[in-house]
Subunit: 347 residues, 2 copies
Amino acid sequence: VRGQTLGDLGEERLIERLRRRLGPLVPPPPAGIGDDAARISRRGSHDWVWTADLLTEGVHFRRAWTEAHWLGRKALAVNLSDVAAMGAIPRSFLLTLALPPALELAWFDDFARGLRDTALAAGVSCVGGDTTASRSGIFVGITVMGEARHGLLRRDGARPGDGLWVSGPLGASAAGLRLLRAGWRLRRGSAVAPSVGRATRGREAAALRAHLDPRPPLALGPWLARSGISRAAIDLSDGLAADLPRLCLASGVGARVDLAAVPVHPAERRGVRAALQGGEDYALLFTVSKRKEEKLRYLAARIGERPQRIGEVLPPGAGIHGVAAGGASRPLAQGAFEHFPGRGSSR
Amino acid sequence: VRGQTLGDLGEERLIERLRRRLGPLVPPPPAGIGDDAARISRRGSHDWVWTADLLTEGVHFRRAWTEAHWLGRKALAVNLSDVAAMGAIPRSFLLTLALPPALELAWFDDFARGLRDTALAAGVSCVGGDTTASRSGIFVGITVMGEARHGLLRRDGARPGDGLWVSGPLGASAAGLRLLRAGWRLRRGSAVAPSVGRATRGREAAALRAHLDPRPPLALGPWLARSGISRAAIDLSDGLAADLPRLCLASGVGARVDLAAVPVHPAERRGVRAALQGGEDYALLFTVSKRKEEKLRYLAARIGERPQRIGEVLPPGAGIHGVAAGGASRPLAQGAFEHFPGRGSSR
C-alpha cells in the first residue's frame, strides 16, 4: 500500500506538522516559525532578524522564461522583502547554490550580476554560503539578516479598529505569470507576444516585469517601524487572500476588505477578486491605528510612497470578508498558490 | 557553439569567480566568503556567526542508502559543525526544504524526528524557514546561527611553530561511502553485506555510521576558543588534504604533516594517504601554540576528548608536506571531493 504523501496533506498542514514535530524547540512568535523572518536576539534597542528561502527551478522559475540577472535580482529581492516586512533593514546575506555542472558560465555570471545589482542597491553584503552540484536543475537558497532599531512589525500586532493598508497595486505578478504560460516573453524591456512577433505593449511588459523582476518596497517597512505608524505587517508573497488570513490568525482578529478600495494593477483584467488571489506581488500589507492614519497619509507622500487603505481590522470572531461597493459581503476565498495543494483544500 | 560550463571551471575557481563578481560587497575575512561560518556582528565581547548549507539528493545522499532520521540528524549536524569549528555555540537554525509532493509523510516525519533529536542534543531551536515543492528530489537547506563569547577560531589564525591537531581518527566516512557504493547497508545498527545477507561486522558498521550519522565534536571548538588554547580551526568536511591547504592559505603559512602520527580509522584499510583524502569526517583540525600544548593534553582528557598532534605549522613558502616515518617528504596531494571537478585540476 502507498503511504500518505505530502501532496495529500497540503502546505499549511505540512508546516503545522513540522512545527509540532519540532515542538519543544520552537520558541513562541515572533521568534518562531510563521513570521516573515525570525528574531535572532534583542539587545538594548536592537532587534536582529533573519529569513531563508529556496527558489526551485521548474517551480519558482523557468530558465526559458527569465534572464539570469533577473533571477539573481529576484532571488535576493524576495528575501529582502521578508526582512523589510518585519520593519528591519537588511544587512547581509548567505548564498547557497545547487547548480548542474553542465550549466554555462555565461548564465552564472549573468545571475551573479543580478545578485550584485540588488545587493548594491539595498546595501547588503554577501558574507558566505555554499555551492554544490545538482543533478536536476538550479536551486538558489538565500538567507538574509536584518537589523531593526525601533521595534518589529509583527504578524500578531493587528488590533480591531486598525486600518488595513497595502503599499501598491495587486495582481500584476500573477498576470505576468499567465502571460508567460501563454507564450509571452520579456525581451529588452518589451513584451513579445507568442505568435505576433516583437511588439511593445506597456501593460503586458509591466506585468511580465512585475513577475520576473519584482521591486519590493524595501524602505517602507523599516520606515513604518521607525515612525511608529504601524505595528503589524506581512509581505504579500502568496496573495492577499492567503496572507491576510495569516496576519489575522496570528493577531487573533477578523478583517473587512473594501473591494472597491483595493488597487488592482491594470494588467489584471479579471478584476479585484482575481487580484486578491494573485501571488508574488511583494507588496506590503500593514495595519495603522486610527489616530495615525492622517500622519501616514501626510508623510507617505513625502517619501514617494502611495499606500492605499483597503479595509479595517475587525474584532475576534468577525471572520475575514470582502465587501463589494453595493454592500454585499462574502468570505474572502483562500485560493492563492500552494506548494502542496492538499486534498482537503477548498480548491 | 557550446559555452564554457561550471564543470569546465571547477569548484574552487567557481567560488573565486563568485567572490570576484560580488566583489565590493564582500567584507574581508573572517566575515567574508571562505570561513566555515560568517561573522554577523561583534558587540562588546560577543561574536555572532552564521553558516548555510544545502544537501542535495543524489549528490550528498541517496534515499536508498540512508534512513530519513539519519538524514535529518546529519543535515543539522554538519551545519552545527561549521559553527562549532569557529569556536561558537550554535543557538538556532532556519530550515528550507524542497520536497517532491509524492514524498511519503512517513519519510517526512522520520526526517523531522532526526532533526529534532540533534537539535535537542545541541540545544538549538528551529526558528523559521521555508517549504516548497520540488520536481526532482529532496533538497535540505539549513542556516545555523551561533554565539561566541570568547573570540573566534579563524582560518587565518595559524602561526609558524604552532602544533597541528585533529580531534579524532580520519577516513571512516569515506570508507563508509565506499561500502554503500559496493552495496553494503546499515540496518538497525548492523552492517549488511551486499550478497552474504545479514551480518554484523563492527568495523563496517562503524564506517557506515560515520558516513550516514556523523557526530561532530561540537563541544570541542567552543572549548578551544574559551580556554584560549587555539586560535585557528577548520572542520574536515572535504578531507584533510583539501582543508589543511585552505587553513594554510588563509593564514599565509605552510605545514608539515607527520603521516605516522595521523590517526586512521580502522575501517580505512588503504592507509594514511587515503585517510587524508577522505571527505565528510567532520573532525576538527586546529592549531595550538607550543606553550599551550601541554595544557591541551592535560585538559582535553578531562573533557573526554582525545585530540592528536599530527604535525606543525611552517613559515610562509615552506609548502604543505606529508612526511613518512622514514623521513621521506612529499607534497600533500589535493584530491578530496569536488562538486565541480575542473578540467584544470590535478586529478
